[in-house]
């Protein structure tokens, strides 16, 4: 049966929200891994019943969970994330060099073609890959070994590799983003990497046009146009039409260009969604109004989507991994908030309704379209 499964990671567990294609009534299961932080969980495009979840706690560290039945049952798999070779150092907040130390997995990105292959973006920033369903992990150390590595430094949330975008037209090409180093691309399946930050301008760093040091928050791509990337940066919404070789700002008429997530419509590659947030120190919507902004022109011209969203006294945040779309004929758009609401729109953002209102703070939302 056609339907949708929404995978929600929260500060205190994971939840699986399921519905048929109408997306009117939802079955909610969870909390899975109650009491643990679930930074991210995501399904394999090659086998929708294969899910991976990043489970962590300040007490007991990192675990990876795998499900083979769409989230009904889970088993812990490998959790050994050892940096390749001598870990080395990166820049610390005070300018000194600091040893690379594993903290947690921020993002899991299953392969587009193989359910047993999955990538993990971790803090301190590095990219790992498993080819055995998460049992063992090996670092793709060419990224961290880039000569700019010792100059990377943590953002306020830690030095995390939080975004992994796989190119559906080229299995050798992967994009990643690191806070606060910037965006990087490999064209040889992870052996070598280069920064792709030309055109980014960040006022919070000594050289606003530096090769690295930018606080990229999220990158999104439409699978039919893998050379076109949209980026929500710390400040600024950016667009690249050459696979990241250069970027231009498309913030246009947004009320603020700070924010975390960015997503692209399933069927309209020029339709893009962001959630403007007031500022880097005031992590809530401007004027207490929760508004998704949609551009149908690939950026620059944006319209506020407000129907069904709170338009007064709303001071939640929407984190970088907490927005996604489904690919049903009428494209669904979903996002979760730090206030524990998960909102859904079944009409490309024109109107919204909460699926749930009172979960723990939502860290991630991933949507599977089931056929």
């Amino acid at each position: 049966m056609t339907g949708v499964r929404v995978l929600v990671g929260t500060r205190k567990g994971a939840f699986v929200l399921s519905s048929n294609a109408k997306r009117e009534r939802w079955d909610i299961s969870g909390p899975h891994f109650a009491g643990w932080q679930i930074y991210h969980l995501k399904g394999s495009p090659a086998d929708p019943n294969r899910l991976y979840a990043s489970q962590s706690s300040g007490w007991f560290g990192q675990l990876i969970q795998r499900s083979n039945d769409g989230g009904k049952t889970w088993e812990a798999v490998g959790n050994k994330f050892a940096y390749d070779g001598i870990a080395g150092t990166h820049q610390w907040y005070d300018g000194t060099q600091h040893p690379w130390e594993f903290a947690r997995v921020w993002h899991l990105e299953p392969s587009l073609t193989d359910p047993d292959t999955v990538y993990a973006g971790v803090e301190d920033a590095a990219l790992f890959r498993s080819t055995d369903g998460g049992s063992t992990w090996k670092e793709l150390s060419g990224l961290r070994g880039h000569n700019s590595g010792p100059r990377w430094q943590p953002g306020a949330g830690g030095m995390c590799l939080h975004t992994i975008v796989l190119d559906p037209s080229n299995p050798e090409r992967i994009f990643v983003a690191i806070s606060a180093a910037g965006a990087f691309r490999t064209d040889d399946a992870g052996k070598t990497w280069r920064p792709i930050n030309r055109g980014l301008r960040s006022q919070g760093i000594p050289d606003p046009n530096a090769e690295v040091g930018h606080c990229v928050h999220r990158i999104a791509m439409h699978p039919s146009r893998p050379g076109v990337l949209f980026m929500q940066k710390h400040w600024d919404v950016m667009r690249s039409d050459d696979a990241g070789d250069s970027w231009r700002e498309v913030s246009g008429n947004l009320p603020t260009d700070f924010g975390f997530p960015v997503a692209v419509h399933a069927h309209e590659p020029e339709t893009v969604y962001v959630v403007p947030i007031k500022s880097d120190s005031e992590h809530y919507p401007p004027d207490g109004k929760l508004r998704v902004y949609r551009s149908r022109t690939g950026g620059t011209e944006w319209e506020a989507l407000t129907k069904g969203l709170p338009q007064s006294d709303c001071y939640v945040n929407v984190l970088r991994d907490a927005m996604d779309i489904d690919s049903l004929d009428s494209c669904g758009v979903y996002f979760g908030t730090t206030g524990g609401q998960v909102y859904a729109s079944v009409d490309s953002g024109d109107s919204w309704a909460p699926i749930v209102r009172d979960l723990p703070a939502v860290l991630s939302v991933e949507v599977q379209t089931l056929t």
Partner: protein
């Protein structure tokens, strides 16, 4: 047999109820007890001490016989009462985070 009490979250992970009863060959130390825990319950590897360095995780504590043994060296003998199974070795999630 050595008795080990795990915190709730680790019991859930290991899918056990109550305390563990483990055979430990040789001297009974933090290291040998944790080696036995991880050998019997591989899912707990990395949750109590680091995979590579074997350093105790910062917010995990080790208690036994009403003593805090968290800062003892890993190869120090545990109290006789733990070695004989009269008292359990407690793995505790520290009070932290407010």
């Amino acid at each position: 047999m050595i008795r080990v009490v795990l915190p709730t979250h680790l019991r859930t992970l290991a899918r056990v109820d109550g305390e563990l009863q483990l055979r430990v060959d040789g001297p009974v130390t933090q290291r040998s007890v944790l080696d036995a825990v991880e050998a019997n319950f591989p899912v707990l590897s990395g949750t109590i001490r680091d995979h590579v360095t074997h350093r105790r995780r910062s917010f995990v504590r080790f208690y036994a016989c009403e003593q805090d043994l968290s800062h003892e060296v890993p190869d120090a003998p545990l109290p006789d009462a733990v070695a004989t199974g009269d008292e359990p070795f407690l793995v505790v999630g520290a009070m932290a985070g407010g």
